[in-house]
């Protein structure tokens, strides 16, 4: 018997690293060639890797969530020596041949907490001697044209290379001004920003830089909502749905839109510089969900046409798929208004950011027992805070407040 290691391959033409999303096997499992063993996420895609070996798993060398360089051993498998050693796959082959500069210092990085590793780590081949500025040929040409000495330019490129802008800055005498981002010294651990997070970041910046946000709050006594949730959970019609206060809040939003339809709309900039507001005759109710891959906002299509039980089922279904990472692209487009339940994180309220293109987003806070004045006397009631953010280009204070008050009234006295 001998143990073989599987080094993380480059599955996407020039990728340098990948995140281990999850193992499909455990130590001790007998696995076969081509059996799916692990899901990894690269900058391009989430892909499933098959096993190159038949044998018994002796170690999973990288934990889920870790980002490791291509070439890092991720799996160890004990294989039978009676099986023919695959041609070219025995000792000495490793991960193909790599080249490095003669005499270059070649540090062996530890892969994800490992001390020893059988396969050498991937190294970056330095094509440019240390000290010589790195710049692509067109940038060098620009520098020549502008009479800029590249060795005096501060590089800001993502690989420490000099960009056109760097050269232009240097040419205009700004070379000594602090260069942005890349020149900032690294004082902590830098974590790359990946697909879902990058999409979230872009959406948030787009929303905050285009829509003037206003946030309003209201506290509401949700005793009746809690009682309703309890009652519905016992009804057969709701047997296959997860009924929660969020279900009632979603229903409240749909209800309140009927009186204040302007919150269910989009601001649309037209090419000629004018603008229009598009009011939707349907409600595609977005739900912000913390999925394993990050924040996703799938929506329930035409939520206004559903019965309360239908709505409860639809919310259950879409949030479950989101948490399991099984959303399809069409789940997350064409939303018209969003609800985000931040109460699950134990907080009361916040200032939510609009899903880009939408005019309103409602955050529901935690439900907590509070002293509450009822008919002139102090009582203890379950209270929830609602935070509504709206796009003030579309929705004015009166409309936004009316909508929020309607949602609160519905949760205070649900008509079911």
């Amino acid at each position: 018997m001998s143990v073989r290691e599987f080094p993380l391959p480059d599955v996407g033409e020039g990728l340098t690293e990948a995140e281990i999303v999850g193992w499909r096997i455990s130590v001790g499992d007998e696995i076969a060639v081509n059996q799916p063993i692990v899901d990894i996420e690269t900058a391009k895609a989430v892909v499933e890797l098959p096993s190159p070996f038949t044998g018994r798993v002796t170690a999973l060398l990288v934990a889920p969530g870790a980002v490791v360089p291509v070439g890092t051993p991720i799996l160890a498998v004990e294989v039978s020596d009676r099986e023919p050693v695959l041609v070219g796959y025995g000792v000495g082959h490793e991960q193909g041949r790599r080249r490095r500069l003669r005499g270059a210092n070649a540090p062996q990085q530890g892969g994800a907490g490992r001390v020893e590793s059988a396969a050498p780590q991937q190294e970056v081949t330095r094509l440019v001697p240390p000290g010589k500025p790195m710049a692509k040929p067109p940038v060098r040409a620009l520098a020549r044209e502008l009479g800029v000495d590249l060795s005096r330019v501060t590089p800001t490129g993502s690989h420490g290379d000099i960009t056109r802008d760097d050269v232009r800055r240097a040419a205009s005498g700004n070379a000594s001004s602090p260069a942005p981002i890349a020149a900032r010294p690294v004082r902590g651990e830098r974590v790359p920003v990946r697909s879902v997070q990058r999409q979230m970041a872009q959406a948030m910046v787009r929303s905050m830089t285009t829509a003037p946000h206003v946030t309003e709050w209201v506290d509401v006594d949700v005793s009746a909502t809690m009682a309703l949730v309890k009652r519905l959970r016992a009804e057969p019609e709701f047997a296959d749905a997860r009924v929660t206060p969020l279900t009632i809040a979603a229903s409240a939003v749909i209800h309140a839109i009927r009186r204040t339809p302007i919150v269910n709309s989009s601001w649309v900039d037209l090419p000629d510089g004018s603008a229009e507001i598009e009011l939707y005759p349907f409600v595609n109710l977005g739900l912000a969900v913390a999925s394993p891959r990050g924040l996703v906002v799938p929506n329930v299509r035409d939520a206004g046409s559903l019965s309360l039980s239908g709505l409860a089922r639809a919310i259950t279904e879409v949030t479950e798929r989101a948490r399991e990472g099984r959303l399809t692209p069409s789940d997350s487009v064409e939303g018209t208004i969003t609800v985000t339940n931040i109460g699950v994180f134990g907080v009361d309220g916040g200032t939510p950011i609009l899903n880009p293109g939408e005019a309103a987003i409602l955050a529901t806070g935690r439900i907590v027992e509070r002293p509450w004045a009822v008919d002139g006397a102090l009582a203890v009631r379950p209270v929830m805070q609602l935070s509504l953010a709206f796009d003030h280009r579309v929705v004015d204070g009166a409309s936004g407040s009316a909508f929020l008050a309607d949602v609160a009234a519905y949760l205070h006295r649900p008509p079911h």
Partner: protein, 354 residues
């Protein structure tokens, strides 16, 4: 999809006749088609796995398109010539090219390792649509030689948006060249749906060039065989070019670097999985009693052996000498290439192999 397509096998595997495309089918032919589809699929699955374990730089999956490819491959005569994209594994299977040869390119070992003159197939063409021009040029050469041959020119729906394909069709029509354009409309040009590129069925475009066209069910291997054979015969006899739109579906990613879940729905995938070309042929063979267990087991064993052969051969494949790439650029010494080769040699002298 596909209500207006020519089909000789229903998705349930029932044989139907088409007056324009008669086809004599016996058990032996069915078995050969079955074997070629199974082996094509195994080459595809194994190559995807080899890419995922770091043995290939890239692979372009074929899953779902084997029906039209194997059908069209069987429609060609040995003397015919084909120009293909990088995805026509089924045609190479039928033409007897060792699947290992297909992987040299994807491992980055060599550009092409088969002899195009011997197998009658050009190299895998990566540049989208460029080989449509080569196809027509070759077909015009056939005319000038007076040879009894025809050309099959394979490309995808995305390629129909390129200028090269337009020019190729203009020339094919103008010279009445013996070429059959076979478009595998697999619905997606990477992430762009065919409906964005074409407001009308692709087959209707051919009328604008004066080229007759047909739209066929690309997941029906018998329709692929009968229609392609009829139109190649017609081209050989001087009838001129023809255009086939085979409506099919790429069920895998565009390449192993692609993530199709970002742009298409699972429901779409399920629909096309239900129209699988191998399942359809299998159902038909069961209906006519041409699928005995011994035969199925023998083909499966052959596929397993093929998988093992691919794994072992590819894993053992040595990287070529980097200087080799300069050797066949020109037939005779060339000043620039000689200088480039010397510069590369100088660079290699500064690095060591670990």
């Amino acid at each position: 999809m596909t209500e207006d397509v020519i089909r000789l096998l229903t998705p349930e595997g029932e044989r139907i006749e088409h007056p324009d495309y008669p086809l004599e089918v016996d058990a032996d032919l069915l078995r050969r088609l079955y074997r070629d589809i199974v082996l094509t699929r195994r080459t595809d699955v194994e190559s995807t796995a080899l890419q995922r374990t770091g043995e290939l730089g890239l692979w372009c999956p074929v899953l779902g398109q084997e029906g039209i490819q194997v059908g069209a491959g069987h429609a060609m005569r040995p003397t015919d010539y084909g120009f293909t994209t990088y995805r026509e594994v089924g045609i190479f299977q039928v033409r007897g090219v060792d699947p290992v040869e297909l992987l040299h390119l994807y491992r980055g070992v060599t550009h092409s390792s088969w002899d195009p003159r011997r197998v009658g197939l050009g190299i895998f063409t990566i540049v989208i649509g460029s080989h449509a021009l080569h196809s027509v040029g070759y077909a015009m050469g056939i005319q000038r030689d007076g040879a009894d041959e025809a050309v099959l020119s394979c490309f995808g729906d995305g390629a129909t948006s390129t200028g090269d394909v337009h020019e190729a069709m203009v020339f094919a029509a103008a010279f009445n060249a013996p070429v059959v354009f076979l478009v595998q409309n697999n619905q997606w040009a990477i992430s762009v749906p065919v409906t964005r590129q074409a407001r009308a069925p692709l087959a209707t475009r051919a009328a604008g060039y004066g080229i007759p066209s047909v739209r066929i069910d690309g997941n029906d291997v018998l329709a692929g065989l009968a229609v392609t054979r009829t139109l190649l015969d017609r081209a050989r006899e001087g009838g001129g070019p023809a255009f086939i739109e085979a409506v099919t579906y790429r069920r895998g990613p565009h390449t192993t670097s692609d993530d199709p879940t970002r742009y298409r729905d699972e429901a779409e995938l399920d629909h096309w999985a239900s129209l699988d070309p191998l399942d359809r042929l299998r159902r038909h063979m069961e209906r006519v009693g041409a699928l005995d267990p011994e035969f199925v087991a023998a083909v499966d064993a052959e596929a397993d052996a093929l998988g093992e052969l691919l794994r072992e051969t590819i894993r053992g494949m040595e990287a070529p000498d980097p200087l080799r790439m300069f050797e066949h650029v020109y037939a005779e010494p060339h000043r620039q290439v000689t200088a480039d080769r010397a510069a590369m040699a100088d660079y290699l002298a500064t690095v060591e192999t670990s």
